[in-house]
Symmetry: C2
Subunit: 433 residues, 2 copies
């Protein structure tokens, strides 16, 4: 019995490590196309910025570690190019074939920049791998670029903009859609824009980028370009094998992270998961979900029985020290999902006035019919992560606003005000319902 895992970053290695725990004697092979495994991909913008000093700091485990300590055969530079499920074989670019009995597909996602001309120029970057980040660091050190354009205002885009700005560049972020952070939410986008502008970064929404010219992008002069757009799951190989994709283009999975092919699992940024607020499959690729779904896929592939119930879409990103945190749906998104949304937005202090609290914005969204909380946003320099997590827990528990309003949250002046901002928002929301 051999388990083959395609992909050696978050989901793939979580799967392999968990499979080993379930079955100490299973043969496990991990195929990673790149030169390194197990790196903290979410740390890449901070490597570019310099807050993370060296690429090695982001590497958690080496292939040698996995071979020695976990008896897992991790192969780098091993790019899978085809899967033959009839023969239970993965074909590598090198021509080699690797037999499997169980397979975990953790091929991740990437930027599809095929619609943009001129991306092969040396001043154009993406930010997915350690190599990408190192190449960008070298370019900044050697060429000393003064103006940068970031294409895409998703998480990586705004983090890259923050990192480049801290290198002293003038930075413009060009976003095709009308909103930042992949969330149809005008107030959130306005808040992101305000924070960016306060720190000298311009955000242009509704900006179409057809080409990167030698010294400009969409009319904006620049000597460096970061493409953080067109994020797509890497699923071409899976689709060719007859693995079913969902509407998002990512791989459909059941709650055991199994695909439509028996014994073939998918996890991480290439897979769909259930959204617990709607009960429907969704595609929200994030590092937490990659680790969790990898764990469940690996456990089941090794003969365990675990389930991944789903996500509520919780995320946070830091922009110039301000946390922008979201969970569930914005009011606009909720409407599109068929809810009858009602929302309330408040500003409050993160601590009592006499204790130098900082501004915290909370928006809560509920469904008028059921009274359930279905979304939230928290923006602030302090406590945004903890506060969004409370809302996320409430979403997952299918809490109604009137239950949420009664939460017994911790209070002490150095930490929070006696009425936490999330409770003030809930009181306001109940008035609107």
């Amino acid at each position: 019995m051999a388990l083959v895992v395609i992909g050696g970053v978050a989901a793939g290695l979580s799967a392999a490590a968990r499979a080993r725990r379930i079955d100490p004697r299973l043969e496990i092979v991990v195929l990673e196309k790149g030169p390194v495994i197990s790196y903290g991909a979410c740390g890449l913008p901070y490597l570019v910025e310099g807050r993370v000093r060296a690429p090695e700091d982001l590497v958690v485990y080496t292939p040698e570690y996995f071979r020695r300590e976990r008896k897992i055969d991790v192969r780098t530079g091993a790019r899978a190019v085809a899967i033959s499920h009839a023969r239970r074989e993965v074909a590598l670019e090198s021509g080699e074939r690797v037999r499997y009995e169980r397979l975990v597909i953790a091929t991740g996602a990437g930027c599809d920049t095929s619609g943009i001309a001129g991306t092969a120029q040396p001043q154009v970057f993406t930010l997915h791998t350690l190599d990408d980040a190192e190449r960008m660091r070298r370019f900044i050190a050697e060429k000393k670029p003064r103006r940068a354009v970031v294409v895409g205002a998703g998480y990586i885009g705004v983090e890259a903009a923050d990192a480049l700005r801290r290198h002293g560049m003038r930075v413009t972020v060009l976003e095709r859609s009308a909103h930042a952070l992949l969330r149809d939410d005008g107030a959130l986008t306005a808040a992101v824009r305000k924070t960016l502008e306060t720190h000298g970064v311009e955000l242009r929404c509704g900006a179409h980028v057809a080409a990167v010219e030698a010294d400009r992008v969409a009319g904006v002069p620049c000597d460096m370009v970061v493409l953080a757009c067109g994020f797509r799951p890497n699923t071409a190989m899976a689709a060719e094998t007859g693995i079913e994709l969902g509407r998002s283009g990512a791989i459909r999975t059941d709650e055991r992270m199994q695909t439509n092919l028996s014994g073939v699992y998918a996890a991480g940024d290439c897979a769909e998961v259930t959204h617990l607020v709607t009960g429907r499959l969704t595609y929200i690729p994030l590092g937490t979900t990659a680790n969790k779904t990898g764990r469940v896929a690996g456990a089941n592939a090794a003969g365990g029985r675990e389930r991944f119930p789903g996500i509520v879409g919780t995320a946070i990103v830091g922009i110039f020290g301000v946390g922008f945190a979201t969970t569930g749906f914005s009011a606009t998104q909720a409407k599109a999902e068929g809810f009858s949304p009602v929302a309330a937005r408040i500003e409050a202090k993160s601590r009592p006035g006499y204790f130098q609290g900082t501004k915290t914005t909370v928006e809560l969204v509920a469904d008028r019919g059921s009274g359930r909380l279905i979304g939230g946003t928290v923006i602030g320099e302090e406590g945004a992560a903890g506060r969004i997590d409370v809302i996320a827990a409430a979403l997952q528990a299918r809490m109604r606003v009137e239950e949420f309003e009664q939460l017994d949250l911790a209070y002490s002046p150095p930490f929070s005000p006696v009425w936490d901002p999330v409770l003030i928002a809930a009181q306001q929301l109940r008035k609107e319902m």
Copy 2:
């Protein structure tokens, strides 16, 4: 129709303000025994420390404000000494009588130090009122005490010890019970002791204090003493009126915060509330609960219909920059409550290793029979409040450990590790079950 509220701090003023919102024309009288109302009592240790500069900073509203803006007749220096429910009258110390139709009792709590001799000396303090804190500040400035003893290792005790230490004093905390922070939890007490000792404060548990001598307490030399022990609800007047008290000595209430006497409500530090983990009445006096129960009591006293479902006992205290947060029950407490507890304790980083995370300790307690989470502790310099609040929300939602383990929490390197410490603790706990 007149509503009389006895007590003008957190619960009393919340009740009065909420009653005004429910009924704009109701006659509302607030009787406060002290000279000021509406002060942030939880800020008193920080006033002693000096981080809060002036007593005025802690005063949120004045009686004039309430009279002018809310049409609420707030009387300071009005000490209620008896209630005659048959005549619907409150008697004041001055001899005056105030008629009521509805009554809210928000008499708070205080230190019962009657078992300790020598408390009337000038170097002996309690820390309940603005006057207490101001007197302590003056004493420190004028007498420059060098050694202090704090009696009691509850929240106020450890906060006072922290404040006095920052004035350069040698501080010893004497606690009668075997544990700090009012929680039968050996690991928590050990952690509190370690943090105190790191900062030069000694904690002695099992220390009986029978008397304050001129230059020492229980053999510990000192020139200043803070009594933060014997916390008792102020309920003698209520009991004399025939208002039923619970086993804790605090006033029994229903979920509308009504006492056994129709039209008489109780709220804040003098009242019992329901513990949502057990469903039984409990007495855990905290500022958040005071504000919430005051609101509900005031609403119902003014003809509204609101309920206070209860608490889960969430609290946090900062000791030399480390947050000690608890909710629900410790394993020992849970056993005493009739549960079959199983606990897991882990240490993890507050952020990824490459992002300078600091140590975070999480303990989770579950009931083996039902699989429900019933308690938690979080200790750390960062994020303790947010993390305990997630656990508190889970307790309130009656979440099982396996549900909690699947929470979709926010992740980004500046804020948290990809596996949040609370989720690592949940994984560990599930293994133990």
